[in-house]
């Protein structure tokens, strides 16, 4: 039994290696950042970092769910933007109206996710193409809703969620809540495991009697929901809505990068949303480093590009250990 127990640890570690690595990288980078910031780790600095980190983290979680099914979602950014525009319209007024507005926003996210899911499952189109197209549609809707930037939000709620609770950023607590309410149960549920199975070996999963379509659908559904949560949060941070293709695009792509840095396999079936969250925080911290180190503004884009490239290339160090060339192929 001792053998097994000893073994257990090894296996469990192997399972979470990616996540742990991402977490370590983030902590290191953030330490450097704080150490060089005039204001150090003051509440304002941390809260500021948290607020923008959580935005990307939520979208990255959304991306993770689809990537786990061996798909890719190019529309998360646009769902994010659409939710932002909806929120700037409906999340206002007294508690009741606000709550109702939030339901509208999240519901819209679910609808978008459902649409993606249905097209991928019953239309049998490739996820990447499907979401490329639906992304355009979602953006169009956002633009209908908000021809020009503006709108408003329940300011008390916004301040509460972008502020801090006894020095702990409220946005982080919200993220924690979402992880506990959505990710953790999913990870341990049958459907959650089915999502991994589908991503890892669809045919085998089907033969084993796994409910493939339900798994896929759930993944897209929750992906839409999480992206909408992100959009909601964006509205709290910006007090307004904007139908910006630029923002949508950059969040989609950064989410993919975050997912990879977070140790989720783009081939599906392996990885965790927690890892993706840390991946997102790593990406954000790259941006912050620009602030504390005195880069010429015209050097900044190059610096960010190089760091991003190195971050995603880090994984290929494992190649050095490959002894059987066949292991090089997926």
């Amino acid at each position: 039994m001792a053998r097994i127990a000893g073994g257990d640890f090894r296996y469990r570690f192997a399972e979470h290696r990616g996540t742990l690595l991402a977490a370590a990288v983030f902590l290191a980078m953030f330490a450097i950042y704080g150490a060089n910031h005039n204001a150090g780790f003051s509440t304002l600095v941390v809260t500021t970092a948290a607020n923008k980190g959580v935005l990307l983290a939520l979208v990255a979680m959304a991306q993770t769910l689809v990537v786990l099914t061996a798909g890719i979602d190019l529309s998360v950014g646009m769902i994010f933007v659409l939710a932002n525009c909806l929120a700037s319209q409906f999340v206002v007024g007294d508690a009741l109206e606000t709550g109702f507005g939030i339901l509208i926003v999240l519901g819209a996210g679910l609808l978008c996710g459902a649409l993606n899911g249905l097209i991928v499952i019953y239309g049998r189109l490739q996820p990447i193409v499907t979401t490329l197209a639906t992304g355009a549609i979602f953006y169009g809707l956002a633009l209908l809703l908000r021809p020009v930037p503006g709108g408003e939000i329940n300011y008390d709620l916004a301040d509460a969620l972008t502020g801090d609770v006894f020095g702990v950023p409220a946005s982080l607590l919200m993220l924690l809540g979402i992880v506990l309410v959505i990710w953790v149960p999913l990870r341990r549920s049958v459907t959650g495991r089915a999502i991994y199975a589908v991503g890892s070996a669809e045919a085998a999963a089907y033969m084993s009697g796994v409910a493939i379509n339900r798994a896929r659908f759930t993944a897209y559904l929750l992906s839409g929901l999480l992206a909408a949560c992100g959009g909601l949060m964006l509205t709290f941070v910006t007090y307004s809505g904007e139908a910006s293709a630029m923002i949508g695009g950059s969040y989609t792509l950064n989410a993919i990068a975050a997912v990879v840095i977070g140790g989720v396999s783009l081939y599906g079936g392996a990885g965790s949303a927690i890892g993706a969250i840390f991946g997102a925080l790593v990406l954000r911290t790259i941006g912050d480093l620009l602030f504390v180190f005195d880069f010429d503004p015209l050097w900044q884009p190059l610096f960010q590009g190089v760091i991003l490239l190195s971050a995603v290339t880090l994984g290929s160090l494992r190649l050095l250990r490959v002894r059987n060339r066949l292991d090089l192929f997926g």
Binding site: A39, V148, P149, D159, S250, L290
Partner: protein, 350 residues
């Protein structure tokens, strides 16, 4: 927070109030030299890069340099949240003033609050803020539309078919310029038909959509283009479209063409405010820090030139890049950059 005081303010000819009822700010004077930051958003286009170069050129000018302990520029890219975070960081890091070119004018309410609480002077330009809590250095976008429309009305005696090449949809700038044009044309009493296409302020896009419009509608009597003016005129020339009056932005390339073909009927009105407005914003910030009384909303003069006044080396530079934005002179503020001064700024020096 600044005190709200009665006008008139300092240097009224430069810091011109937006309207009669514009309120004035007076910040508690601070001893210099100052730490000033420029929180830029997107950087990947010509206008923004020239703006940053101009800002640095201005900060390098001796009399300005003397007043600055530090001038820091950060570009946060497309992402609005990142720009807001940058402003918050500057506040936290105790900068005296922050100059922003907002990704989205509506979004700054929260940071303005925080800035005012921390006694930091916040000055917005280009994309100004929908707020009267911070200083806005405004270009009269609608006025620009009116300016172009008037030019067409003046040059097309009895109305006709106008091609309007619009900017990036969903932005207030595009909306204001568009309204300025349409309202003026409508008010002119002449008969106008306008065809709208979206040029996204991008030469390539503008050129493509113009070409399409010409291929389909064959002939226009006049053109207005919010940006990418060079591309639009190129498209007309490539399509062999006869030269007609054009109201466009202040790209050097546009003015080059106007200068070259003015004789052949390409009657241009080139107007806008170049990236140099960042200099006015910085100047305003310094003034505010020194305790001068400044309007909350400043109206920038438009830098305009019409046919036949295009002069090489004066209001355009045939030896310079087409992409260069020319309207860099604000004489009333003692600001006048030649292309060389801006281009001279090499990337390395900090």
């Amino acid at each position: 927070e600044p005190d709200i005081v009665a006008g008139p303010g300092a240097e009224p000819e430069c810091f011109a109030p937006w309207a009669q009822d514009t309120k004035y700010f007076k910040f508690a004077p601070k001893p210099g030299p100052y730490r000033i930051a420029l929180a830029n958003g997107f950087i990947g286009n010509t206008w923004r890069i020239q703006m940053i170069k101009t800002a640095k050129a201005y900060a390098e000018q001796p009399e300005v340099k003397a007043k600055l302990a530090e001038f820091k520029v950060v570009s946060t890219g497309e992402d609005l949240a990142a720009q807001l975070a940058a402003v918050d960081n500057f506040i936290a890091a105790g900068y005296d003033a922050i100059v922003v070119n907002a990704q989205n004018p509506a979004a700054f309410t929260p940071v303005i609050k925080r800035a005012n609480k921390a006694g930091v002077v916040l000055v917005a330009f280009d994309n100004t803020l929908d707020s009267d809590e911070a200083i806005n250095v405004n270009v009269d976008q609608k006025g620009l539309g009116i300016y172009w429309a008037d030019w067409l009305i003046k040059n097309i005696p009895d109305g006709g078919k106008i091609l309007e090449v619009r900017g990036v949809e969903g932005t207030s700038v595009d909306r204001d310029r568009h309204e300025g044009i349409q309202e003026t044309l409508a008010a002119s009493g002449k008969k106008w038909e306008t065809v709208e296409v979206v040029g996204k302020w991008d030469d390539g896009t503008a050129q493509k959509v113009t070409a399409d419009a010409v291929a389909v509608h064959k002939k226009f009597d006049g053109v207005t283009v919010q940006g990418g003016s060079t591309g639009t005129v190129r498209a007309l020339m490539d399509a062999g479209h006869p030269f007609v009056p054009v109201g466009g932005e202040t790209e050097n390339g546009f003015r080059k063409l106007c200068g070259a073909h003015g004789g052949e009927g390409l009657k241009c009105a080139s107007g806008g405010t170049g990236p140099a407005q960042v200099a006015v914003a910085i100047k305003t910030a310094i003034a505010a820090l020194e305790g001068a009384v400044v309007p909350q909303s400043i109206r920038l003069p438009l830098a305009t030139t019409e046919d036949p006044n295009f002069k090489d080396g004066e209001n355009y530079y045939s030896d310079q890049s087409d992409n260069f934005f020319v309207g860099n002179a604000f004489p009333t503020c003692g600001i006048n950059f030649t292309a060389q001064e801006i281009m001279g700024q090499s990337e390395q020096d900090q």
